[in-house]
């Protein structure tokens, strides 16, 4: 069980609801940061993900290590939250 999950989204992103729905179905809670409402966070997310895209999901594990999942990518997201 991850310690924390944060999803970075925008208003029009179609894949963002998919990530949220997937996590909900897995019974996991998450924080959401809308980068249009918080443009000051964009540089930080870009630095962590290396990608100018959303959704970006940052999974913080119990040992504080982090997995960064770009897009709605189940092959990456499923092991990250396991």
């Amino acid at each position: 069980m991850p310690k924390n999950i944060t999803i970075y989204t925008t208003n029009t992103c179609s894949y963002c609801p998919m990530v949220k729905q997937y996590l909900k179905r897995k019974g996991l809670s998450y924080d959401e940061v809308n980068l249009e409402k918080h443009p000051e966070m964009q540089a930080e997310v870009f630095e962590k993900s290396g990608a100018l895209t959303v959704p970006v999901t940052i999974v913080t594990k119990q040992d504080d290590s982090q997995d960064v999942v770009i897009g709605y990518n189940l092959a990456r997201l499923a092991p990250a939250i396991a």
Partner: protein, 323 residues
């Protein structure tokens, strides 16, 4: 316990088929690896789907289709089908969520945007080169953009991107192939969108990890042309999603789309196809939903035949006689 029907994909064709089959108590499960609604869900605005006088947001249309199919019992699993194997009366599907079995399968995986294949495209993928305006357009507020392509998607998404970008250079290899309505709409945004016809895209150039310009060729003058930009959006056609059917015996046409007979069934009995991934599809949401409904009726017919055996020749082809 096998499902009656597994639908691979959850775009308009898939959701339309699921609505029909689940409404007839055919146990239906859909598998979607991307966005529910497929490419329709990532399209900003849909103006040519019947029933919406003023048009409808692609995401909203997809949500309505999903809810309607789920109302009758269709189940949507979030996962990826990696392989299909014909085992006669049953089809085995290998998925990221485990193996499942079905009496019939509908492939409605649609297509994805093609890459253009020029230097710089891979290098700057998601760091200046994008394929989804609704996903990534917001990162380009008050910035310059290049849109590559001249079809409906390129026109529609360019118009959407004017919400954010200060200016858009649209590079069109030959002439505009968008609908007249969209061409008129583009003209309304001429203060923000400059259309460059007969202009190829040759290279995407960047510096310090950021895209800085697109280099192309003006085919009229054969001169190199440069377009300074902060980002590039590519909409140059569609590629069918068929990787998972390799080795299944399902036939593809020369462009990689799946061949079917007039009943939308592939060469493998019990495996049907609908929507953009089908050879001969017209790549429209309205035709995809129509094909989904047709496929559902053909699948019902197939399942009934499997249950009771074929009818006498005289009534075959007249499903209304026993439907």
């Amino acid at each position: 316990m096998p499902h009656d029907l597994v639908i691979v994909g959850a775009g308009p064709a898939a959701l339309s088929a699921a609505l029909y089959t689940s409404r007839e108590d055919i146990d239906t499960v859909l598998f979607e690896k991307g966005a529910i609604g497929g490419l329709a869900a990532v399209t900003d605005w849909v103006d040519n789907y019947p029933g919406f006088e003023k048009g409808v947001a692609g995401l909203e249309l997809s949500e309505q289709m999903r809810k309607q199919a789920e109302r009758f019992g269709a189940k949507i699993e979030l996962g990826e089908v990696q392989k299909i194997e014909d085992q006669g009366k049953l089809k085995k599907l290998t998925t990221t969520e485990g193996d499942i079995y079905a009496k019939a399968v509908l492939i409605a995986t649609g297509s994805e945007y093609k890459k253009i294949g020029v230097p710089g495209e891979e290098e700057y993928y998601a760091r200046g080169v994008h394929y989804c305006a609704t996903c990534d357009g917001a990162f380009y507020r008050d910035k310059k953009l290049v849109v590559i392509g001249g079809g409906n998607s390129a026109a529609q998404e360019s118009i959407f991107l004017t919400k954010f970008a200060s200016h858009i250079d649209m590079l069109v290899r030959s002439s505009l192939k968008a609908s007249d309505v969209l061409i008129k709409e583009l003209a309304k945004h001429k203060d923000k969108i400059t259309i460059h016809l007969n202009t190829t895209t040759d290279e995407i150039v960047g510096q310090d990890g950021k895209v800085t310009k697109v280099v192309g060729t003006d085919k009229n003058s054969a001169q190199k042309v440069e377009f300074p930009t902060d980002g590039v959006f590519v909409f140059v056609g569609l590629l069918p999603n068929t990787k998972f059917i390799q080795g299944s015996g399902i036939e593809l046409d020369e462009r990689g789309f799946i061949k079917t007979d007039i009943h939308l069934m592939t060469k493998v009995p019990g495996i049907f196809v609908a929507g953009d991934v089908r050879s001969g599809a017209t790549l429209q949401i309205a035709s995809a939903t129509g094909e989904g409904a047709t496929a559902a009726l053909m699948i019902r017919e197939y399942l009934e035949t499997q249950e009771r055996g074929p009818l006498p020749q005289a009534v075959v082809g007249h499903p209304q006689l026993y439907g």
